[in-house]
Symmetry: C2
Subunit: 153 residues, 2 copies
């Protein structure tokens, strides 16, 4: 009998996400805010670059940066190189929070992996990495959702 891989992956990823959201929520972050914060800290990056890294739409990015600015964790700054682009600069407070949130993320991942026997832990990660780079690399095409033109006004 074939194991129900869909159920196993859906369930584990769903529960892990709820745990992550709940834990990050304790310090006022969403997973997306954490992602942007961390990658904006690594080097000077524009919204488009951060959207690419986090696999978000640019409009989703706008909302996420709005939230970070409102919370005083990051700011939009004009890019010297391209006056259309905005660099996302992390504030001092934002850097502190990012350190904290990275600890939370590592702890949630770590405690999950620690619940497995040593041999299973390593192989699980290796197998998921292999699938991610191989058979489950690319999403299958969904049916193109036709969309009406937006109302002018």
């Amino acid at each position: 009998m074939t194991p129900d891989l869909s159920y196993l992956l859906d369930h584990t990823s769903h529960v892990l996400r709820t745990q992550m959201s709940a834990q990050l929520g304790e310090i006022g972050l969403t997973p997306r805010m954490h992602c942007v914060l961390v990658h904006a800290l690594e080097e000077e990056r524009t919204q488009a670059q951060l959207a690419e890294i986090g696999d978000m739409d640019k409009t989703t990015m706008v909302v996420t940066v709005d939230a970070l600015e409102k919370a005083g964790l990051a700011e939009r700054r004009p890019s010297g190189a391209d006056r259309r682009a905005r660099i996302i600069a992390v504030t001092e407070e934002g850097a502190k929070v990012a350190k904290e949130s990275q600890k939370i993320v590592d702890h949630v991942h770590g405690s999950t992996l620690d619940s497995l026997p040593d041999d299973e832990r390593d192989v699980l990660v290796r197998a998921l990495n292999r699938l991610t780079r191989g058979h489950l690399q690319t999403p299958a095409e969904g049916p193109r959702t036709a969309r009406r033109a937006r109302q002018k006004g």
Copy 2:
């Protein structure tokens, strides 16, 4: 360094779901329709029971059964035991389609697992099962989304 388990599980489950949806879509089914069809075939079951099994809301179940009826794959029949309840009866055509869709599901799962080395394959499934029954059994509580009362009329 802690592996990014969130990314690995999210990505693999997402891609697997798109592949499954695309393959089942070829014969006009959604994953939910397949799920209902298969469990309705096993024994006489009401909508509520099938919703429980597939972890769907009862209103989502209504939509799913509507789709199955429209496609001529299942019918609502009054339950002898409880006149409020409806038994979901699979049609002859529905049984054929269910056989087909089960083949598709097994093939999608099978080809994914077959892309892994033997030793990784078994351990992956064992580890995911262990997480599902253990550390990642229960979703964390989300913030209760307050909802306005519905308009009368």
